[in-house]
Assembly symmetry: C2
Homo-oligomer: 493 residues x 2
């Protein structure tokens, strides 16, 4: 039976809770922030899975543990985790550790609310609106709508669902069987979430028509138009084109103006997956790469990538001013979105989304922006371009590096050609042998903990490295390190 | 052009970053944790939207701000946010502030990685597996699969998509138009995400057949069977039943054994939406409410609700051992899930999901569980039941409270009957007048900041309050406060 005392442990004991959190925060600062971003520390401490399981003692038992044990667990979790804020973590499209964004994340986690009503998220409902407005302004829209989604893949799905609903509002109630066969279009360089989304939304992956890309990875608008005409000839109804601004591997920007022309001619929804490249809009120097984006109907943009806002910060932006989001997704749950509230219920934005509870993803970006200003963020973006350019020029000076292509963004794709393969290009097994280099080097760097960089095969090309310059703390020395370290790791190959 | 110095502000200046974070953490402890969970402080500081916009100065400008300004912004964000950890926040199915879970969240945010590969999330790939295994064991499964999703709504969608794929694997490639019309079944008390999911997945809301609930809000299995037979007679193919363990408003538990019998007879996938009630499985005393859950094919369970793990912590659990998740959702992106890695690529779990990047949601629950033990968490759950029971008994002693029904869970639904309406039941406008009470009281409590509790109309019944006993720090005094405060706020009505 309940009594008047709170439970043991920390429930209802604020002083003990504070003391624990102070201790944990100290560990976080020492281990994850100070060491985790220090170039002379390891970027990762590799352990084989079985050994790591032993070290972590993951099992959840009936008995609780002492504070000392818990603190030791916190240390172990950090010790064996990869340091994505480390200046030699080049592995993904996100990296770096922005202190202001992290401050925003800690506040978010402590306030622990859901974004669905003004009632329980007054600050964040207004803030999300303001942040989305700013992002829309950078796209070139003075009005519109939007929402933060749990990742770019889901933003892309939203775009597909919204386009489908706009063309065929019946779909919401009656489903796809009441509709003609639909077709959407994207390039072969697009992110895999487009096909995942088509499957999840019931359209099927066959509904995705794959358009050619040119030698630099950019969608070919003429081929897009051909595919549209072909789809129509086959009896399908085209409804959406998903262009990409910043492709995942090559960092290519689809020609948005030409694609927008095609969409206009055929009455199609233009979605721009700018999850990776969207942040380039902040740069006066480089935003021309996205010329035409203002003609899109929807844009997916992840500030957790190039702006280092922290996972996840994924905006879906819409040009629509007809409340399409809410009409498409709304279900009017009466327990949450009561219509007899004492404030303007238009502020309860939760019915715009297919989630119910939704995390607050705006504060981290807002606080970082307030601190850095648009100018500071612009400098960051410009700097990543400059560092990527420096890296490319340095590669050209060294014997063992071969560029896949001149990059137009901050993805630098290249082969490291080890000594034994230099000058062998054209030999029958050259490609095959070269393709085996990256996995070996990757294993070596991870096991040493010196660096992390991704590789992949791509089309007909064997494994090459994809260097991503995104961490705002990078310097020329980190670029030099990358080159030196690959030479060191690969000298015996 | 890039130079060798890092950017100004905090990029690349670890000492300044640390100092900022220390300051912010101090503010978080003082304002959000200490005051935010203190009964004598306000649960919220209500401001009208226009006034709040002014106070927050939300606009994002070109110029950055000083550290002092940023710290003041952090204080303002916390000041005007609702304190969901406050002992008088009863408004949602989540509340309270668990220090260990928050510690896990702070570490998660600092490490800032994505859950998709062992390469960049070694600790969390293994930890997620262990946590899911533990949750499955509580369901009654010694094997299976699962994943953490961004909220219960998306978990429910996953279940629908998986059931559809299992019945009709063709759907992934060819889409719903290649399939017969499908039907799924849930009760009228189910969460609104089932209909949202059906729309999003292209099935359409019409595909959701709404089964009767009894007077306590529990699905009627006989009516379920009738609906299945009817759907078949209409030419639809039934494929899934979504039962609810802990309905949103009434806290009802559908009779899972009887529903499982029906599913077995008709060969249907049984999904249990236990987003709210799943945590009752931890209690030896109360877990009988979910008897039969082990016969389900999938279970959605949100430890961020009754266990206070923090938003979001939403597990989708599967009985399947055939790699259904990966077969259904996989897209084999070659840039992320390389097959020539130097470790077992089965550890790269990212292709199980429809997201690409995915937040780490396991650590907060794992750390809390390690600290409290299963026993500690069981005590918590038992205690919420006991406090809810106490509240119900106290309500029966007071004139102004009328229960909607005897609760079987920790949702206590009731009307506050103000003095002017007492003894008036049966009068022609009684229901209408009673329905206007809750919105007025809600406005008063929010504007005073003394308490937050939700209300809603439900079926044919006018607005009543839904008290949720979930915060692990609650005491009998908080229950007494609720009653006293409603009497105080409503004394002139």
């Amino acid at each position: 039976m309940a009594d008047s005392k709170p439970l043991p442990a920390l429930n209802g004991n604020p002083a003990a809770a504070e003391a624990l959190l102070q201790e944990v925060f100290g560990i976080v600062v020492d281990e994850a922030i100070r060491k985790g971003t220090c170039a002379s520390e390891k970027v990762c401490e590799w352990k084989e899975p079985e050994e790591l399981k032993q070290l972590l003692d993951l099992e959840l038992r009936s008995q609780g543990e002492s504070q000392e044990q818990i603190l030791e667990r916190c240390r172990a979790v950090i010790r064996y985790s990869v340091k994505t804020g480390h200046p030699r973590f080049f592995n993904q499209l996100f990296s770096g550790l922005d202190a202001h964004a992290l401050a925003g994340r800690i506040i978010t986690e402590t306030l622990n609310t859901s974004q669905y009503t003004y009632e329980i998220a007054p600050v964040f409902v207004l803030m999300e609106e303001e942040v989305l407005k700013k992002l829309r302004a950078l796209v070139g829209w003075s009005s519109g709508d939007g929402v933060f989604c749990p990742g770019g893949s889901i933003s892309n799905m939203y775009a597909i669902n919204l386009a489908r609903y706009q063309h065929f509002p019946d779909c919401k109630q009656r489903g796809l069987r009441a509709l003609p066969p639909l077709a959407l279009f994207t390039s072969k360089e697009c992110h895999y979430s487009i096909k995942k989304g088509a499957a999840f939304l019931g359209l099927g992956t066959d509904s995705v028509r794959v358009v050619k890309a040119d030698e630099r990875g950019r969608m070919v608008p003429e081929d897009l138009e051909q595919h549209i005409i072909m789809a129509e000839a086959e009896g399908a109804v085209p409804f959406l084109v998903s262009a990409t601004a910043g492709t995942t591997v090559l960092g290519a920007f689809d020609p948005l103006e030409a694609i927008a022309d095609v969409c206009q001619r055929h009455g199609l929804w233009l979605h721009v997956d700018a999850a990776w490249g969207g942040s380039v809009l902040l740069s006066q120097t480089h935003r021309h790469l996205l010329d035409g984006i203002q003609r899109a109907d929807s844009v997916a943009w992840n500030p957790h990538k190039l702006l280092a806002a922290g996972l996840q910060c994924s905006a879906l932006l819409l040009r629509d001013t007809s409340n399409l989001l809410k009409r498409c997704h709304g279900a009017q749950a009466s327990y949450l979105f009561q219509q007899d509230k004492f404030y303007d219920v238009a502020l309860d934005t939760g019915d715009k989304v297919v989630q119910c509870g939704r995390r607050v993803d705006c504060l981290k970006l807002w606080l970082m922006w307030k601190a850095q200003g648009g100018q500071g963020l612009e400098q960051r973006v410009d700097r990543t371009f400059a560092l990527a350019r420096y890296l490319v020029e340095e590669m050209k000076k060294r014997e063992g590096f071969e560029l896949v292509m001149e990059p137009e963004f901050v993805n630098v794709c290249f082969w490291f050609v080890p000594p034994s393969l230099r000058g062998q290009r054209g030999c029958p097994d050259y490609e095959e042998r070269l393709s085996k280099v990256a996995p070996v080097l990757k294993e070596r760097m991870v096991k040493e903990g010196s660096m992390m960089i991704g590789y992949q095969p791509h089309g007909t090309q064997g494994n090459f490295f994809r260097m991503v310059v995104a961490n705002p703390s990078l310097t020329l020395a980190d670029m030099d390190f990358l080159l030196d370290e690959l030479e060191r790791l690969g000298q015996d190959l």
